[in-house]
Symmetry: C2
Amino acid sequence: MQSTNLIVLSQIEIETFLVEGRLERLRELIAPCRVVDAESFTDASWLELLKEANPKILVAGWKTKPLPANACAEIAPALKYICYLPGSIRKLVPRELIEQGVTVTNWSSSISRTVAECALLLSLACMRRVAYWSHQMHDQGGWKDVKTVTQSLFDRRVGIHGFGAVAKALLPLLRPFTDKISTYTEGVPESVFKEYGIRQETSLERLFAENDVVIELEALTPEREKIVDEKLLRSIPAGGAFVNVARGALVDEDALFRVAQEGRLQVGLDVYTVEPLPADHPFRGCRNIVLLPHLGGPSTDRRRDAADHSLENLRRFQSGEPVLQPITLEIYDRST
Amino acid sequence: MQSTNLIVLSQIEIETFLVEGRLERLRELIAPCRVVDAESFTDASWLELLKEANPKILVAGWKTKPLPANACAEIAPALKYICYLPGSIRKLVPRELIEQGVTVTNWSSSISRTVAECALLLSLACMRRVAYWSHQMHDQGGWKDVKTVTQSLFDRRVGIHGFGAVAKALLPLLRPFTDKISTYTEGVPESVFKEYGIRQETSLERLFAENDVVIELEALTPEREKIVDEKLLRSIPAGGAFVNVARGALVDEDALFRVAQEGRLQVGLDVYTVEPLPADHPFRGCRNIVLLPHLGGPSTDRRRDAADHSLENLRRFQSGEPVLQPITLEIYDRST
């Protein structure tokens, strides 16, 4: 049975992920293949393409239409590997395909360092109150006065909630500022903390109460919804900061707003329970919250790192080696 | 002749510089001494105090009234050491006193790392367009869209204009992001660049044209006024950033505004030719300029580092050792 691999991406994805010869390397790696514009399909013509090409490998992006659960059984029986350039695979790949043994990968930890960078930026921005000063300087004709308080990250106690790939990438960015870094998470063996030279706090309560800057990097699970509650937020020492670059739903946002509004806590947010953040959300206008529109990672210029990760995985797949960081059912169920 | 050392500081200076036992250590080091409120004097009562106490050591701060040029000769002949906790000593100390052999120190490089921190913050904020997003998110109900471009500092070429204490403190903060760091300055021996593992560009023109992020850290001299002109600014590659945490007068600000307004350059500023920045200055409202009100260094919480530097110098002075980083006539003339 004839099989042609497919690269189904938008023009922007090709231009930003597959820069500097990467498209050519990709085409070579999975030849024979076709490159098609992800935005040119109806639901029907998308299924038709799959049937006609019957790809063994599908390279996909944000704009690729979802795969049907019966893709392998009936529509494209040759399909063995879905190489998704971005992160959230749930919209594209039905769980059944993983159950059926199709290999699935995404950008995985190749973009972690850019999210870590965003966490550092928000931490520094909290300490210097950048949202407040941006408003004052741009819109209020403001300037500092004798009572202006600014803070530094140097020598601060930093607590990281969660210890996955982003937290690991954050450590080398934080270490020039402080060696007082601790973490709290569950299910990570002690040897990992040792390997990374980081101290595990004995409880989530201590992580918040004993650190000046708390950075939220925990994975979202149903049990962790709103795990960061008012009590935890209020326990951060006065003048401290709370930064979230993980998932908005980890935090009780009503409580966060109440605590932030009082002014004793600086807050830096890249993620929200509802995204886009509603236009009338109370966070907007609260000047001790630095707000970014979920652009933690990867920045446009580092999408190439995700492409390099995918290219390595395609090389491995084609030469029969195991791919790096495949999406298991466990990862699939945990992902957002 | 009777001599009592003087600590002449404002209440806020005592509370922020001399935290955690530092006031007590200071009093012990220079006993017998008096602590007086710097803000409680008229010009006349200030001279009277100097005459009456005839200090050998004066510990001073922002609010200490200026010393007269004839302080040593007539008013306080015992005066040998002026230990100024902050930075700019020209308002307090007339040049003649240094000529007469009075030892003068200030916070010198003890605060450099906080200025370096501000330079890193502004660089990261430029790459993620924090001023733009702060405005969009807080005041415009905004959110990212498919055309949103964000950038990272990872793997970027960073050029530093000047290679003094702040530049040296910036290197360890930049290195986790990139090893493509170069500098341009004059009069620094090649061995210093080697020691710090940094490449010297062959010209200022190349420093601007060959780097994605240019950080201004050069010392201001009369010859360097507006040395960063429109041509240099326009030579920074599109999508790049210009950050100034040194002195505003190094830059042709009219040219900077013209270039910034076009949107191809992100700008981060902590310093301005005229400070406070005039309320109607065109920088205000230009959303690809991150604006801070000259709070680079030291942050309030790190004033203790300046105090520690002064305490060490007082210990040295009292035990007959040479002080660290004394203000020479050359430094005095160069300072702002």
